[in-house]
């Protein structure tokens, strides 16, 4: 078995500013060794440790999709030591990636089902990965209807704007984009907080519909009752958690909620599972 602390070497291939306030950037990496790309075979919902020698490692959700080949992408919010350093790095710089880590959205179970994706702020990364995966021609027929509720503070803070507007044009996915507020008179989409839009626009629950929720704690807190009002059961609500992490492989002991390690037993849990653990996230 390989050393699980050893990152694969990668080169930064592209850096894109993702939001108008420049607090988020999307990094595209290519593996220095072709074989490593195959070893890094992942599913939508997993994360990886971005590893900068001399600075440290950070757990980040994989924003690219398993159906996109030749690179991996991550969208990173600048907040502390490692993320700030990464924001100052340049195309061509060498660093490392360790993973893929954690579990993923339950794609087997979701086959044949309707899927409602609910995201807020910059926690849309693995949801982007999931949407691209489901919309892939080879996969689209495996799922029923797809609804997406995605909100940010303002239009300029929405991630992946080009793709969002492209999905708006399609008839095999129902987009419900929203912003907390805007002074743009041409804004054609929703205005309002995610939980409100969920209540108004998301499909009513039925046994064949599952919701995937990913966002800041406050959004999760208020989305839960909205989904319950629509009739979603604990097992139909799937969430991705974030806890402080180091090892990402279940060994360093800091990311637990009860007996579950968020890095290894998660980050994806059903609400039912979460309701059985202490709320230490």
């Amino acid at each position: 078995m390989d050393n699980p602390y050893m990152p694969y070497p990668v080169r930064i291939d592209d850096i894109e500013i993702a939001t108008e306030d420049k607090s988020l950037k999307t990094f595209k990496f290519v593996f220095l060794n072709k074989e490593d790309e195959e070893k890094f075979s992942y599913q939508a919902g997993q994360f990886a440790e971005l590893s900068i020698p001399g600075v440290g490692e950070i757990p980040i959700g994989i924003a690219s999709s398993p159906v996109e080949k030749g690179f991996v992408k991550f969208t990173v919010f600048k907040t502390g030591v490692v993320t700030s350093h990464l924001h100052n790095m340049k195309v061509g710089d060498i660093m490392g990636i360790r993973g893929p880590l954690g579990n993923w959205y339950p794609w087997d179970k979701l086959e044949g089902k309707n899927v409602v994706i609910i995201g807020g702020g910059f926690a849309f990364t693995t949801l982007r990965s999931s949407i691209i995966y489901m919309l892939d021609p080879a996969n689209r027929s495996k799922f029923g209807t797809i609804d997406v509720v995605y909100g940010a503070r303002s239009p300029g803070m929405l991630l992946y704007r080009d793709e969002l507007f492209e999905w708006e044009q399609r008839d095999d996915i129902n987009m419900h984009i929203t912003v907390d507020g805007t002074d743009d008179p041409d804004w054609k989409y929703n205005v309002g907080f995610v939980p409100t839009i969920v209540e108004q626009k998301a499909p009513k629950a039925d046994p064949d519909t599952y919701a995937i929720v990913c966002g800041p704690p406050i959004m999760i807190k208020f989305t839960q009752p909205a989904l319950e009002k629509l009739g979603y059961g604990e097992e139909q609500i799937i969430m991705s958690l974030e806890n402080r992490m180091k090892c990402g492989i279940g060994m360093c002991g800091r990311c637990n909620i009860g007996k579950e390690l968020v890095c290894k037993d998660g980050p994806v849990f059903t609400l039912k599972e979460i309701n059985l653990t202490p709320k230490e996230y």
Binding site: P4, Y5, M6, G54, N243, C247, M251, G258, K259, L276
Partner: protein
């Protein structure tokens, strides 16, 4: 079962001979503290020590350990690409490790050697190590190992069990690794098996009987994590804790760690260091949010992990071997024995 008799007059000679094959670790006094560490060329394990303040976990899990290195000099090949540093996986022997500490190694192994991932550093060190245990003839007042699936003469995790009989040791050979160590040390005086085992059994019973503290754990299994977590006693239990982290530091089964990079000039190393769930930083998010920001939450985490989460996760008993170190060293007398009692006897209000 083979039993070897080692005359104490031959002990140092055998220890010296074993140095040809093994790096030795054992109990020694360092700056007035009894610790378990690598023995210098002239040093011998202090076999008379009842207990070391620091557990022997550092034999496999150093307090600070270099795990990766890289050059940051862009003019050299492979700059910014992490490499494995040289690690020493030549045979080592932990001499005089106590049975509860050997059991602790087995519990820690569940964390570092998993079906999905193998912690290279810990596992390589584990495989290189021969555990030469020393039975506890006179258990300390805080020893409650018999309640925690171990005991003064327990053999789990040991390759050899030494029993001290004043002028000689009887060495129970438990594994081929143990046999190889005794061969290497030149200890080859075979004792009469039946008679020796009888002697050892008698001493074992006496030592076990000397541990009068009984800490019941039988009812922990049937309670739910949420019931215990929301029990009303945590604030009281945690009240006097000063979050010093001593309990996690001395504990043979506390394995939590941090990972940090350190750079000198153009070369960097990634280290892992012992960490503690008692520290607020342990769980603090970049955003400032902290799921265990309150002292009570951290104290509860430590005891819930030891006595409930681990039990539920692995079904292999508690993550405490009853060595009593944290009981003895806690500056405010927080006592896992009474906390375990409180948890075990708690009846949730329905």
């Amino acid at each position: 079962m083979k039993v070897i008799k080692i005359d104490k007059n031959d002990w140092t000679r055998g220890i010296d001979k074993s140095r040809e094959t093994y790096q030795l670790f054992g109990p020694v006094t360092d700056k007035n503290q009894s610790v378990f560490k690598q023995l210098g060329k002239e040093a011998y394990p202090e076999m008379g020590r009842t207990d070391t303040i620091m557990s022997p976990k550092s034999v496999l899990f150093p307090q600070t350990e270099k795990i990766l290195t890289a050059s940051l000099d862009e003019s050299v090949e492979n700059h910014h690409i992490m490499q494995m540093p040289e690690t020493d996986t030549t045979p080592r022997a932990a001499i005089g490790i106590r049975p509860y500490d050997a059991k602790a190694v087995q519990l820690v192994k569940l964390n570092f050697d998993t079906p999905e991932y193998r912690d290279t550093y810990w596992c390589d060190a584990y495989e290189a190590t021969t555990f030469v245990g020393l039975a506890v003839n006179k258990p300390s007042a805080t020893d409650f190992s018999t309640s925690m699936g171990s005991g003064p003469f327990a053999e789990e995790g040991l390759d050899i069990l030494l029993v001290d009989l004043e002028d000689h040791y009887l060495a129970k050979v438990l594994t081929p690794k143990g046999e190889a160590f005794l061969d290497g040390a030149g200890f080859n005086g075979v004792a009469d098996t039946d008679a020796s085992l009888k002697t050892i059994e008698g001493m074992k019973q006496a030592a076990e009987a000397a541990i009068t503290t009984k800490v019941p754990t039988d009812k922990l299994k049937d309670k739910t994590i949420l019931d215990l977590h929301s029990a009303p006693f945590w604030d009281d239990l945690a009240f006097s804790c000063i979050n010093c982290g001593t309990c996690t530091f001395v504990c043979p089964t506390c394995w939590c760690f941090d990972i940090q990079d350190e750079t000198k000039g153009k070369s960097t190393s990634r280290f892992r260091n012992w960490d503690s769930c008692m520290s607020p930083l342990f769980t603090k998010h970049g955003s400032g949010h902290n799921p265990r920001g309150e002292k009570t939450q951290r104290v509860r985490q430590r005891f819930m992990h030891k006595l409930k989460y681990f039990l539920d996760k692995y079904d292999q008993g508690s993550m405490c071997v009853g060595c009593g170190r944290c009981v003895e060293k806690c500056p405010v007398n927080i006592d896992i024995r009474s906390i375990c009692n409180t948890m075990n006897s708690y009846e949730p209000q329905k």
